[in-house]
């Protein structure tokens, strides 16, 4: 302590300032992340305002009844980890440590090898969270006399069967997106950028923050067709009965389309990233 105090006052903060400066200049280099962050936040602000305005304006016929909206929210909470929030941490670790070279030594298509890993990783985290959540939000709340605020049963047998098919596709779709994030990690050799960008997009476009039917009507078609609706909005609306019949089949078809399209894209991109792979040292 004595020695530190003996340093001239002008030099006392020097190390901290140097670290501050060096780190600032380093992080400044992540221009894609900065641009994306800016764009998402701007978009976010605009959308939130529009949603609120639209909702208050046409409140006479809300697109989602309160009970349906509550069911939608509980499903979202229970299945939160089903969504592709970040890269497969195992893959991130291997990319940083260089152990990713062993992945290329396996006589396997790396895309599908990682795809099944992502599926297993997601499913293993979803089940122990979803089951207790549905028990709590369904029967427990109901027995406690708070049924109106709980997860209602599915809108019918057909709705339940279609929901089961749709949520299965959600799992497959989520893994294709995890793989796309993996690709970014492989290409950028770090998991930081991808892991901070993904949640911003997923949160908004999956309907997790604001259920997609509550967006203004002119946006509905686009929101229905974009890939993130299949992560929660489509299966949830099928469950609560807001999407049924031809609409439900259309939703499931859209999910299936995106599973295939994103898998094709992801596989091509992963192969390209692997072709440019660089591994330092031994």
């Amino acid at each position: 302590m004595e020695a530190a105090l003996a340093v001239p006052k002008s030099r006392l903060m020097a190390p901290y300032l140097a670290v501050l400066r060096a780190r600032f200049l380093l992080v400044l280099q992540y221009r894609a992340a900065a641009a994306a962050g800016f764009a998402t936040q701007a978009w976010f602000g605009v959308v939130s305002i529009m949603v609120l305005a639209g909702f208050y304006h046409g409140a006479a016929h809300p697109p989602l009844s309160l009970a349906q909206a509550i069911g939608y929210v509980w499903l979202g909470q229970g299945l939160l980890v089903l969504l592709p929030w970040n890269a497969d941490p195992e893959v991130s670790e291997m990319v940083v440590s260089g152990a990713v070279v062993y992945e290329r030594l396996r006589p396997l298509d790396t895309y599908f090898y990682w795809y099944v890993r992502a599926l297993a990783w997601t499913l293993a985290r979803v089940l122990p969270r979803a089951v207790p959540m549905f028990v709590l939000a369904g029967p427990v709340l109901s027995l406690a006399g708070f049924g109106a605020w709980g997860l209602p049963p599915p809108a019918g047998f057909a709705a339940f069967a279609l929901f089961a098919a749709s949520i299965g596709l959600t799992l497959l779709l989520s893994a294709t997106m995890t793989l796309l994030i993996n690709v970014v990690v492989v290409a950028s050799q770090t998991s930081r950028g991808a892991n901070s960008l993904a949640p911003a997009i997923v949160n908004l476009f999956s309907g997790l923050i604001v259920p997609l039917p509550l967006f203004p009507a002119w946006a509905h078609l686009f929101l229905f067709l974009q890939p993130f609706a299949g992560l929660s909005d489509i299966p949830f609306r099928i469950y609560v009965g807001q999407l049924s019949g031809a609409g439900a089949f259309a939703g499931i078809a859209i999910q299936a389309f995106w599973v295939v399209a994103l898998a094709v894209l992801g596989r091509r991109r992963l192969n390209q990233a692997m072709d440019r792979l660089r591994v330092q040292g031994g």
């Binding site: 200049l25 280099q29 792979l277």
Partner: protein, 330 residues
Amino acid sequence: MPQIRVDDLSKTYRVAEREAGAMGAVKGLFRRRHRTVEALKHISFCLDEGELLGFIGPNGAGKSTTIKILSGILIPTAGICEVGGLTPWKDRIAHVARIGVVFGQRTQLWWDLPVIESFELLRDIYRMPEASFRRSRDQMVGLLRIEHLLDTPVRQLSLGQRMRCEIAAAMLHSPRILFLDEPTIGLDATSKLAVRDFVKVLNRDQGVTVILTTHDMHDIEALAKRVIVIGNGVVLRDASLEAMRAEIVGERRLVVDFAEDVAALSMEGVAVIAREGRTQTLAFDPRQIAPHRLISRITAAHEVEDLHLEEPPIEEVVARFYALHGADEA
């Protein structure tokens, strides 16, 4: 036809750089500067089935890059590389099913699983029939003496134990070609010997082709008849270990235990480099004076209890070689 053919292989990397200081960082936002690094420059060599090749060179010389290209992990910028008739990076999946690879600094075993479960996962990944898996597993477990480690999670193994398991894992699918990238790095003497013995048996008894990179010259002495020295991305020498030694260091040493006290010998072309009690270490150039002639001249003049010829330590040979060719790491 050689099993492995590398012809005029080059690999360059583009590395992004930024200028130092605040202005550099701001400039980097708009324009990136790139520097080209040539990791390999026109490398060529061939290897026949059953050969054991040692690959040596300073850090950053291009050894690992060569191994990774041969393994199908990296794609070269130019040149030809064929292993068993396949181009590794073009026919990656078929190629990697036929080779075994160990990177001494990385792990291919699943960190949280017991060793045996990693082996079983590899069995499924390589689509091995159960019977041939069992045969291969039992053989590897016996040769590397890892029976007692099979139920231990990988994270709890010592480095030496883990490396033996890594090598077993790389050989489970019975490849005919084995690439070892610094397999003995950081190992204790016992584990090093176990690894060397294993490689020797594999190469000699089963005819497995082996390429080995290492910084431990004892590995090379124990295993490799043929050595490729690589420095700054160029093959500096492709020769037998003996030929290299003879070329670099003309000098040999003769250690003589005299039966009586003898003054430091003085002979034409011979230097006494150490004298301890009745033992003298003589350095001489075998091209000037043949060893047998030197010995007979000494034994004719003096009573000798014991004598033996020594070669300069291999480390010294290699260090001199690197220096001679400017291959030392920049």
